[in-house]
Protein backbone atom coordinates (compact mmCIF):
# COMPACT_ATOMS: atom_id res chain seq x y z
CA UNK A 1 0.00 0.00 0.00
CA UNK A 2 1.28 3.42 -0.88
CA UNK A 3 2.07 5.71 2.00
CA UNK A 4 -0.15 8.43 0.61
CA UNK A 5 -3.22 6.25 1.07
CA UNK A 6 -2.82 5.79 4.82
CA UNK A 7 -2.44 8.11 7.74
CA UNK A 8 -0.96 6.84 10.96
CA UNK A 9 -0.05 8.95 13.94
CA UNK A 10 0.30 6.90 17.11
CA UNK A 11 0.36 9.95 19.35
CA UNK A 12 -2.97 11.28 18.14
CA UNK A 13 -4.94 8.17 17.13
CA UNK A 14 -3.29 5.44 19.14
CA UNK A 15 -3.81 2.09 17.44
CA UNK A 16 -5.97 3.50 14.65
CA UNK A 17 -4.86 3.77 11.01
CA UNK A 18 -6.84 6.13 8.83
CA UNK A 19 -7.21 5.30 5.16
CA UNK A 20 -9.63 5.30 2.23
CA UNK A 21 -12.12 2.53 1.52
CA UNK A 22 -10.81 2.29 -2.06
CA UNK A 23 -7.27 1.80 -0.85
CA UNK A 24 -8.21 -1.00 1.51
CA UNK A 25 -10.47 -2.81 -0.93
CA UNK A 26 -7.92 -2.55 -3.75
CA UNK A 27 -5.11 -3.62 -1.46
CA UNK A 28 -7.05 -6.77 -0.56
CA UNK A 29 -8.07 -7.49 -4.12
CA UNK A 30 -4.71 -7.01 -5.76
CA UNK A 31 -2.91 -9.29 -3.36
CA UNK A 32 -5.28 -12.20 -3.81
CA UNK A 33 -5.84 -12.45 -7.54
CA UNK A 34 -7.23 -15.88 -8.31
CA UNK A 35 -6.52 -16.56 -11.98
CA UNK A 36 -8.57 -18.81 -14.23
CA UNK A 37 -6.24 -20.38 -16.78
CA UNK A 38 -8.04 -20.26 -20.12
CA UNK A 39 -5.33 -22.34 -21.74
CA UNK A 40 -6.06 -22.75 -25.45
CA UNK A 41 -2.67 -23.24 -27.09
CA UNK A 42 1.07 -23.14 -26.50
CA UNK A 43 0.84 -20.02 -24.29
CA UNK A 44 -0.74 -22.29 -21.72
CA UNK A 45 2.56 -24.16 -21.44
CA UNK A 46 4.30 -20.91 -20.49
CA UNK A 47 1.43 -20.21 -18.11
CA UNK A 48 2.08 -23.56 -16.45
CA UNK A 49 5.78 -22.75 -16.27
CA UNK A 50 4.89 -19.52 -14.47
CA UNK A 51 3.16 -21.59 -11.83
CA UNK A 52 6.15 -23.91 -11.47
CA UNK A 53 9.03 -23.61 -9.05
CA UNK A 54 11.41 -21.84 -11.41
CA UNK A 55 9.25 -18.77 -12.04
CA UNK A 56 6.89 -19.18 -9.08
CA UNK A 57 3.88 -16.92 -9.60
CA UNK A 58 3.05 -17.30 -5.89
CA UNK A 59 5.75 -14.74 -5.07
CA UNK A 60 3.23 -12.13 -6.17
CA UNK A 61 0.14 -13.54 -4.50
CA UNK A 62 -1.73 -14.97 -7.47
CA UNK A 63 -0.87 -18.64 -7.48
CA UNK A 64 -4.36 -19.92 -6.68
CA UNK A 65 -5.27 -21.10 -10.18
CA UNK A 66 -8.92 -22.02 -10.18
CA UNK A 67 -10.44 -24.10 -12.94
CA UNK A 68 -13.92 -23.04 -11.97
CA UNK A 69 -14.95 -19.58 -13.16
CA UNK A 70 -17.09 -19.20 -10.03
CA UNK A 71 -13.97 -19.17 -7.89
CA UNK A 72 -11.75 -17.02 -10.07
CA UNK A 73 -11.52 -13.31 -10.70
CA UNK A 74 -8.88 -13.04 -13.41
CA UNK A 75 -9.15 -14.88 -16.70
CA UNK A 76 -5.80 -15.45 -18.39
CA UNK A 77 -6.63 -16.13 -22.04
CA UNK A 78 -3.54 -18.07 -23.06
CA UNK A 79 -3.69 -19.08 -26.69
CA UNK A 80 -5.54 -18.97 -29.98
CA UNK A 81 -9.25 -18.26 -29.69
CA UNK A 82 -11.11 -19.83 -32.58
CA UNK A 83 -14.59 -18.66 -33.50
CA UNK A 84 -15.90 -21.99 -32.29
CA UNK A 85 -14.19 -21.47 -28.92
CA UNK A 86 -15.21 -17.80 -28.65
CA UNK A 87 -18.63 -18.79 -27.35
CA UNK A 88 -17.10 -20.88 -24.58
CA UNK A 89 -14.65 -18.13 -23.58
CA UNK A 90 -17.47 -15.61 -23.37
CA UNK A 91 -19.71 -17.94 -21.35
CA UNK A 92 -16.93 -18.71 -18.87
CA UNK A 93 -16.24 -15.00 -18.58
CA UNK A 94 -19.94 -14.39 -17.88
CA UNK A 95 -19.85 -17.05 -15.15
CA UNK A 96 -17.06 -15.31 -13.27
CA UNK A 97 -18.16 -13.16 -10.37
CA UNK A 98 -17.49 -9.42 -10.30
CA UNK A 99 -14.99 -7.90 -9.91
CA UNK A 100 -13.12 -9.66 -12.71
CA UNK A 101 -10.21 -8.93 -14.96
CA UNK A 102 -8.87 -10.38 -18.19
CA UNK A 103 -5.29 -10.83 -19.34
CA UNK A 104 -4.79 -11.52 -23.06
CA UNK A 105 -1.64 -13.59 -23.08
CA UNK A 106 0.36 -13.68 -26.30
CA UNK A 107 -0.09 -12.59 -29.88
CA UNK A 108 -3.03 -14.90 -30.64
CA UNK A 109 -5.21 -13.85 -27.73
CA UNK A 110 -4.35 -10.19 -28.31
CA UNK A 111 -4.79 -9.95 -32.08
CA UNK A 112 -5.21 -13.39 -33.62
CA UNK A 113 -1.44 -13.48 -34.10
CA UNK A 114 -0.19 -15.43 -37.06
CA UNK A 115 -3.63 -16.94 -37.63
CA UNK A 116 -5.06 -14.57 -40.20
CA UNK A 117 -7.68 -17.11 -40.91
CA UNK A 118 -11.36 -17.81 -41.46
CA UNK A 119 -11.39 -19.83 -38.24
CA UNK A 120 -9.62 -17.60 -35.73
CA UNK A 121 -11.02 -14.71 -33.72
CA UNK A 122 -8.77 -11.72 -34.36
CA UNK A 123 -8.23 -10.77 -30.74
CA UNK A 124 -10.18 -11.87 -27.69
CA UNK A 125 -11.09 -8.22 -27.01
CA UNK A 126 -13.75 -8.66 -29.69
CA UNK A 127 -15.81 -10.64 -27.21
CA UNK A 128 -14.55 -9.78 -23.70
CA UNK A 129 -12.97 -6.61 -22.25
CA UNK A 130 -9.23 -7.05 -21.77
CA UNK A 131 -7.23 -5.30 -19.03
CA UNK A 132 -3.67 -6.27 -19.90
CA UNK A 133 -2.20 -7.48 -23.20
CA UNK A 134 1.05 -9.44 -23.34
CA UNK A 135 3.17 -9.52 -26.49
CA UNK A 136 5.16 -12.57 -27.48
CA UNK A 137 4.58 -15.85 -29.24
CA UNK A 138 4.47 -17.32 -26.69
CA UNK A 139 5.48 -14.77 -24.03
CA UNK A 140 8.09 -15.86 -21.53
CA UNK A 141 6.86 -16.50 -17.98
CA UNK A 142 8.57 -13.28 -16.91
CA UNK A 143 6.35 -11.39 -19.33
CA UNK A 144 3.28 -12.98 -17.78
CA UNK A 145 4.51 -12.08 -14.30
CA UNK A 146 5.15 -8.53 -15.47
CA UNK A 147 1.62 -8.35 -16.88
CA UNK A 148 0.15 -9.68 -13.64
CA UNK A 149 2.06 -7.06 -11.65
CA UNK A 150 0.76 -4.43 -14.09
CA UNK A 151 -2.72 -5.80 -13.48
CA UNK A 152 -2.14 -5.44 -9.73
CA UNK A 153 -1.14 -1.82 -10.32
CA UNK A 154 -4.29 -1.33 -12.33
CA UNK A 155 -6.45 -2.91 -9.62
CA UNK A 156 -4.76 -0.53 -7.17
CA UNK A 157 -6.02 2.51 -9.08
CA UNK A 158 -9.63 1.37 -9.42
CA UNK A 159 -12.54 3.26 -7.89
CA UNK A 160 -13.82 0.19 -6.13
CA UNK A 161 -16.44 1.82 -3.92
CA UNK A 162 -17.90 3.65 -6.89
CA UNK A 163 -17.97 0.38 -8.78
CA UNK A 164 -20.15 -1.20 -6.07
CA UNK A 165 -22.95 1.04 -7.28
CA UNK A 166 -24.53 -0.53 -10.39
CA UNK A 167 -23.07 0.97 -13.53
CA UNK A 168 -25.13 3.04 -15.90
CA UNK A 169 -25.52 1.78 -19.43
CA UNK A 170 -23.42 4.60 -20.87
CA UNK A 171 -20.40 3.81 -18.71
CA UNK A 172 -19.49 0.74 -20.75
CA UNK A 173 -15.79 1.02 -21.36
CA UNK A 174 -14.63 -1.42 -23.96
CA UNK A 175 -15.56 -1.36 -27.59
CA UNK A 176 -17.98 -4.00 -28.72
CA UNK A 177 -18.29 -5.59 -25.30
CA UNK A 178 -21.02 -4.71 -22.86
CA UNK A 179 -19.70 -5.45 -19.39
CA UNK A 180 -22.31 -6.67 -16.96
CA UNK A 181 -22.99 -4.52 -13.96
Amino acid sequence: MQNTTIAYDSKVEGEVIVTQADAVINWIRKHSVWPMPMGLACCAIELMASGGARFDISRFGMEVMRFSPRQADCMIVAGTVTYKMAEVVRRIYDQMAEPKWVVAMGACASTGGMYRSYATLQGVDNIIPVDVYISGCPPRPEALLDAMIKLQDKIGTERSVKNLIPKKADSVELAGAAKES
Binding site: Y83, K84, A86, E87, R90, R91, G112, R116, S117, Y118, A119, T120, L121, Q122, N126, I127, I128, G176, A177, A178
Partner: protein, 205 residues
Protein backbone atom coordinates in the same frame (compact mmCIF):
# COMPACT_ATOMS: atom_id res chain seq x y z
CA UNK B 1 4.05 -52.36 -53.54
CA UNK B 2 5.86 -55.14 -55.32
CA UNK B 3 5.20 -55.67 -59.02
CA UNK B 4 3.73 -59.11 -58.40
CA UNK B 5 1.28 -57.71 -55.85
CA UNK B 6 0.40 -54.91 -58.23
CA UNK B 7 -0.22 -57.35 -61.07
CA UNK B 8 -2.37 -59.48 -58.77
CA UNK B 9 -4.36 -56.43 -57.69
CA UNK B 10 -4.89 -55.29 -61.27
CA UNK B 11 -6.06 -58.76 -62.17
CA UNK B 12 -8.73 -58.64 -59.47
CA UNK B 13 -9.74 -55.04 -60.17
CA UNK B 14 -9.62 -54.50 -63.90
CA UNK B 15 -10.66 -50.86 -63.69
CA UNK B 16 -7.57 -49.91 -61.65
CA UNK B 17 -5.04 -47.68 -63.35
CA UNK B 18 -1.67 -46.53 -62.13
CA UNK B 19 -1.39 -42.92 -61.13
CA UNK B 20 1.61 -40.66 -61.65
CA UNK B 21 3.49 -40.38 -58.39
CA UNK B 22 6.86 -39.10 -57.28
CA UNK B 23 7.04 -41.23 -54.14
CA UNK B 24 4.83 -44.21 -53.37
CA UNK B 25 2.77 -46.48 -55.58
CA UNK B 26 -0.44 -44.71 -56.49
CA UNK B 27 -3.61 -46.07 -58.04
CA UNK B 28 -6.73 -44.58 -59.58
CA UNK B 29 -9.86 -46.38 -58.52
CA UNK B 30 -13.46 -45.78 -59.63
CA UNK B 31 -15.59 -44.61 -56.70
CA UNK B 32 -18.00 -47.55 -56.88
CA UNK B 33 -15.17 -50.07 -56.40
CA UNK B 34 -13.45 -48.19 -53.59
CA UNK B 35 -14.85 -50.13 -50.63
CA UNK B 36 -14.19 -53.46 -52.31
CA UNK B 37 -10.64 -52.44 -53.19
CA UNK B 38 -9.84 -51.17 -49.71
CA UNK B 39 -11.23 -54.31 -48.11
CA UNK B 40 -8.99 -56.38 -50.39
CA UNK B 41 -6.00 -54.15 -49.58
CA UNK B 42 -6.59 -54.65 -45.89
CA UNK B 43 -7.33 -58.38 -45.92
CA UNK B 44 -5.19 -59.74 -48.75
CA UNK B 45 -2.37 -57.27 -49.35
CA UNK B 46 -1.34 -56.29 -45.85
CA UNK B 47 -2.30 -52.62 -46.01
CA UNK B 48 -3.71 -52.67 -42.50
CA UNK B 49 -3.59 -49.00 -41.66
CA UNK B 50 -5.43 -46.09 -43.22
CA UNK B 51 -3.12 -43.18 -42.50
CA UNK B 52 -4.88 -40.29 -44.16
CA UNK B 53 -8.01 -39.34 -46.04
CA UNK B 54 -7.95 -36.11 -47.93
CA UNK B 55 -9.15 -34.64 -51.20
CA UNK B 56 -8.07 -32.39 -54.05
CA UNK B 57 -10.14 -29.57 -55.51
CA UNK B 58 -9.10 -29.21 -59.17
CA UNK B 59 -11.05 -25.95 -59.47
CA UNK B 60 -12.33 -25.53 -63.03
CA UNK B 61 -11.53 -29.05 -64.17
CA UNK B 62 -13.97 -31.90 -64.31
CA UNK B 63 -14.07 -34.13 -62.33
CA UNK B 64 -13.49 -31.35 -59.83
CA UNK B 65 -12.92 -33.39 -56.66
CA UNK B 66 -10.61 -36.33 -56.12
CA UNK B 67 -10.63 -38.24 -52.84
CA UNK B 68 -7.16 -39.38 -51.74
CA UNK B 69 -6.43 -42.28 -49.39
CA UNK B 70 -3.05 -43.15 -47.94
CA UNK B 71 -2.50 -46.68 -46.72
CA UNK B 72 0.41 -48.10 -44.75
CA UNK B 73 1.41 -51.71 -44.50
CA UNK B 74 2.85 -52.21 -41.03
CA UNK B 75 4.31 -55.56 -42.06
CA UNK B 76 5.85 -54.54 -45.39
CA UNK B 77 6.56 -50.95 -44.34
CA UNK B 78 5.17 -49.56 -47.56
CA UNK B 79 2.78 -46.78 -48.35
CA UNK B 80 0.09 -46.87 -51.01
CA UNK B 81 -1.99 -44.03 -52.36
CA UNK B 82 -5.45 -44.57 -53.80
CA UNK B 83 -7.32 -41.81 -55.60
CA UNK B 84 -10.99 -41.79 -56.51
CA UNK B 85 -12.70 -39.12 -58.58
CA UNK B 86 -16.08 -37.79 -57.54
CA UNK B 87 -18.54 -38.06 -60.38
CA UNK B 88 -20.62 -35.04 -59.37
CA UNK B 89 -18.85 -31.66 -59.41
CA UNK B 90 -21.63 -29.79 -57.60
CA UNK B 91 -22.48 -32.29 -54.83
CA UNK B 92 -19.41 -34.54 -54.70
CA UNK B 93 -19.70 -37.81 -52.85
CA UNK B 94 -17.70 -40.96 -52.25
CA UNK B 95 -18.47 -44.22 -50.45
CA UNK B 96 -17.45 -44.19 -46.80
CA UNK B 97 -14.61 -46.42 -45.66
CA UNK B 98 -15.53 -46.16 -41.99
CA UNK B 99 -16.87 -49.71 -41.95
CA UNK B 100 -13.55 -51.02 -43.29
CA UNK B 101 -11.12 -48.79 -41.40
CA UNK B 102 -12.24 -47.21 -38.13
CA UNK B 103 -9.74 -44.39 -38.64
CA UNK B 104 -11.68 -43.27 -41.72
CA UNK B 105 -14.48 -41.99 -39.49
CA UNK B 106 -12.90 -38.74 -38.30
CA UNK B 107 -10.77 -38.29 -41.43
CA UNK B 108 -13.91 -38.37 -43.57
CA UNK B 109 -15.63 -35.93 -41.25
CA UNK B 110 -12.69 -33.57 -41.65
CA UNK B 111 -12.68 -33.90 -45.43
CA UNK B 112 -16.43 -33.35 -45.47
CA UNK B 113 -16.01 -30.30 -43.25
CA UNK B 114 -13.27 -28.63 -45.26
CA UNK B 115 -13.91 -29.90 -48.80
CA UNK B 116 -17.60 -30.68 -48.80
CA UNK B 117 -17.37 -34.24 -50.04
CA UNK B 118 -20.22 -36.36 -48.71
CA UNK B 119 -19.23 -39.88 -47.66
CA UNK B 120 -22.18 -42.15 -48.28
CA UNK B 121 -22.73 -44.66 -45.50
CA UNK B 122 -20.80 -42.71 -42.87
CA UNK B 123 -22.38 -43.27 -39.42
CA UNK B 124 -22.18 -39.61 -38.35
CA UNK B 125 -21.20 -37.25 -41.13
CA UNK B 126 -21.07 -33.96 -39.25
CA UNK B 127 -18.48 -31.21 -39.23
CA UNK B 128 -15.48 -31.89 -37.04
CA UNK B 129 -13.54 -28.59 -37.03
CA UNK B 130 -15.90 -25.79 -37.99
CA UNK B 131 -19.18 -25.38 -36.15
CA UNK B 132 -22.27 -27.20 -37.42
CA UNK B 133 -24.04 -24.16 -38.88
CA UNK B 134 -21.00 -22.94 -40.84
CA UNK B 135 -22.19 -22.50 -44.42
CA UNK B 136 -18.95 -23.00 -46.39
CA UNK B 137 -16.23 -25.57 -46.99
CA UNK B 138 -13.08 -23.52 -46.42
CA UNK B 139 -10.48 -25.57 -48.29
CA UNK B 140 -12.33 -25.36 -51.59
CA UNK B 141 -10.60 -23.31 -54.25
CA UNK B 142 -13.49 -20.85 -54.52
CA UNK B 143 -13.29 -19.99 -50.81
CA UNK B 144 -11.22 -16.80 -50.34
CA UNK B 145 -8.21 -17.25 -48.09
CA UNK B 146 -9.27 -14.34 -45.87
CA UNK B 147 -12.62 -15.94 -45.12
CA UNK B 148 -16.21 -14.82 -45.56
CA UNK B 149 -18.28 -12.83 -43.08
CA UNK B 150 -20.86 -14.95 -41.26
CA UNK B 151 -22.52 -14.60 -37.84
CA UNK B 152 -20.84 -16.04 -34.74
CA UNK B 153 -21.96 -19.61 -33.93
CA UNK B 154 -23.64 -18.46 -30.70
CA UNK B 155 -26.39 -15.94 -31.37
CA UNK B 156 -26.56 -14.63 -27.80
CA UNK B 157 -22.80 -14.02 -27.64
CA UNK B 158 -22.99 -12.25 -31.02
CA UNK B 159 -25.79 -10.08 -29.68
CA UNK B 160 -23.99 -9.11 -26.45
CA UNK B 161 -20.61 -8.52 -28.02
CA UNK B 162 -21.52 -7.30 -31.49
CA UNK B 163 -18.83 -9.60 -32.85
CA UNK B 164 -19.07 -11.67 -36.00
CA UNK B 165 -16.83 -13.91 -38.06
CA UNK B 166 -14.93 -11.42 -40.17
CA UNK B 167 -12.61 -11.92 -43.14
CA UNK B 168 -8.99 -11.56 -42.03
CA UNK B 169 -6.81 -10.91 -45.07
CA UNK B 170 -3.16 -11.67 -44.55
CA UNK B 171 -1.10 -8.48 -44.62
CA UNK B 172 1.15 -8.74 -47.67
CA UNK B 173 0.02 -12.28 -48.27
CA UNK B 174 -0.89 -14.88 -49.18
CA UNK B 175 2.53 -16.08 -50.26
CA UNK B 176 1.56 -18.55 -52.92
CA UNK B 177 2.83 -20.02 -56.14
CA UNK B 178 0.96 -19.26 -59.34
CA UNK B 179 1.22 -23.00 -60.05
CA UNK B 180 1.44 -22.60 -63.84
CA UNK B 181 4.69 -23.17 -65.66
CA UNK B 182 7.89 -24.83 -64.49
CA UNK B 183 8.63 -24.83 -60.79
CA UNK B 184 11.72 -22.64 -61.23
CA UNK B 185 9.52 -19.80 -62.48
CA UNK B 186 6.67 -20.16 -60.03
CA UNK B 187 8.31 -19.28 -56.75
CA UNK B 188 5.79 -18.16 -54.14
CA UNK B 189 5.09 -14.43 -54.37
CA UNK B 190 3.15 -12.08 -52.14
CA UNK B 191 -0.28 -11.45 -53.62
CA UNK B 192 -1.26 -8.89 -50.98
CA UNK B 193 -5.00 -9.42 -50.73
CA UNK B 194 -5.22 -7.31 -47.59
CA UNK B 195 -7.06 -4.03 -47.30
CA UNK B 196 -6.26 -1.11 -45.05
CA UNK B 197 -6.35 2.69 -44.95
CA UNK B 198 -4.40 2.95 -48.21
CA UNK B 199 -5.74 -0.01 -50.13
CA UNK B 200 -9.47 -0.40 -50.71
CA UNK B 201 -11.30 -3.62 -49.95
CA UNK B 202 -11.81 -5.73 -53.08
CA UNK B 203 -15.46 -6.22 -53.98
CA UNK B 204 -17.23 -9.54 -54.13
CA UNK B 205 -15.46 -11.16 -51.20
Amino acid sequence: MTTSDLALLKERFETLTERASSDHTALNCPADQLVELCTALRDDFGYDMLVDVTAVDWDAQSPRFTGIYHFLSTTKHEYLRVAADCADDINPSLPSLSAVFASANWHERETYDLMGIRYEGHPDLTRILMWDAYPYHPLRKDFPLAGIEVPLPAADVAETTGASVLPAPMMGGPFVSSADGPMSQTEPRAKDQSWNEKKVKPCGE
